[in-house]
Amino acid sequence: MNPEVIPISMVDLVISLVFILAAGLVSVLHKLSLHKDLLIGTARTFIQLLIMGYALTFVFELDSVLLVMGVYVVMIVFGAQIIHGRVKEREVNYLGPTFLSMLAGYFLIAYVVTGVVVGSDPWWKPQYFVPLAGMVIGNSMSALAISLERLFTDLRAKLREVEMRLSLGADYAEASHEIMADALKAGMIPSINSMMGVGLVFIPGMTAGQVLAGSDPLMAVRYQIVVMLMMVASTALSTVVVLRLVRRRCFGPSHRLLLSPSK
């Protein structure tokens, strides 16, 4: 451990619970009925992060490529499941294409960052690959959920326009060209916006973490720059691949829209 880092003891962690008490007080005073969620959320934060800490220690110590890839696949499975829970689409099965595109797209990005930009040796060195891949998945996941939600909503809302184009000889891609572009934009804009505000409006979590851990701020921001660019790329790449695959599934082999109209 870096000697400059002041350790947080278990007692300190317990003391930090006072923050949750403050949030709980707000919930009680304003009758928000959020205390149960706060309690579960706090318990999950403790349990999940502690497990993650122990898991990462184990993965770092074992230093095995298979284990690192296993962790990566598990992260993707959870990421795809979270997207599935958020989008709530029942007529088109999009989980398979989402999982596969995340798996391939994020791997490519994480590999380029660790192996080429950071230059870690080997490229899968767990201290670099796992946290970087985790950040890619965590950030692009929201973009994917937003894009998919937008695609399904717009295809339903503009069903008559899509069918008008199909009836005039458009194929499925031509009939849904604008809807696809809007869905892509909706997914990409948040990551572009975050590039605008970074360092001015907020100190990103990674920089804050590295500085707290005793890193040189100039080195921390270099990592942050790489991470920001990586996130924009991974968002664009995964969103475009997922949307293309899922959009095809929204249309049957005869290029007809399989979604029922919005109610």
Binding site: S167, L168, S254
Partner: protein, 236 residues
């Protein structure tokens, strides 16, 4: 059913045929079962029946906006699945109940299909040709530069007819195109469908709730009711 040939249409023959077609929406009761129907070239078929009987579904089956659960649909003797869907829909055109125009000039709306890959071999009409068609469809007061969304429903429906006609379809499926129109606009659109049939030689299959009967050769009425489809030949 065979094609009744009149004095002027001796070579009338079926171009689109439904053979033992059955259709049901997912987990729903069947809309049709075992339907046989011939659509003959040059004919004008009026589809009648109560709401929810499946008239729109019948039309949508003819250009693969819906797929039958069983049976075959043939176009010029070949099953619909053998055709590229985009090409098929250019030849068997479908016009929706409520006209759909996009935000753009009337010209952009009329030329919209010419940007699609399946229509690349068609020659884009000139402004003069478009003007001529507008005049023929009583739309002299509509300018090509005008935004399409500013047109009335009746004008929009006629623009949709012209837009489909520019693709030189063989069959035009009209899904109750006059339902949203007042009496005057309705009569104008009905007259235009006759024009499409008689002057442009396009076979018309139209859903209508009105008493309108076109003065076309080979006019017939199709009754869709209780899961079956019957053809009533019109006696001249």
């Amino acid at each position: 059913m065979s094609c009744a040939a009149s004095e002027n249409t001796r070579d009338a023959k079926p171009i689109l045929t439904l053979e033992a077609v059955s259709f049901a929406y997912a987990q729903g009761k069947p809309v049709f079962s075992d339907v046989y129907l011939d659509v003959c070239n040059g004919s004008y078929m009026m589809v009648k029946g109560p709401s929810g009987a499946g008239k729109s579904t019948l039309l949508r089956l003819m250009n693969r906006l819906e797929e039958p659960n069983s049976g075959r649909i043939l176009y010029h003797g070949r099953e619909l699945v053998e055709y590229e869907p985009a090409r098929l829909r250019r030849w068997v055109s479908y016009i929706q109940q409520t006209p759909v125009l996009v935000n753009g000039s009337v010209r952009d709306n009329l030329l919209l299909p010419f940007g699609f890959t399946a229509n690349k071999d068609l020659e884009r009409p000139t402004d003069d040709e478009l003007q001529e068609l507008l005049a023929a469809f009583l739309l002299d007061n509509v300018a090509l530069d005008q935004n399409g969304l500013t047109c009335s429903v009746g004008q929009s429906q006629r623009l949709c007819l012209i837009r489909a006609l520019l693709l030189k379809p063989e069959i035009m499926l009209l899904d109750e195109p006059t339902s949203a129109l007042d009496k005057e606009s309705r009569q104008e659109v009905e007259a235009m469908t006759e024009k499409v049939n008689t002057e442009h030689g396009v076979t018309v299959v139209m859903i209508s709730h009105t008493e309108y009967a076109p003065a076309c050769e080979n006019f017939s009425e199709i009754e869709v009711r209780g899961g079956s489809v019957t053809v009533k030949e019109q006696t001249p």
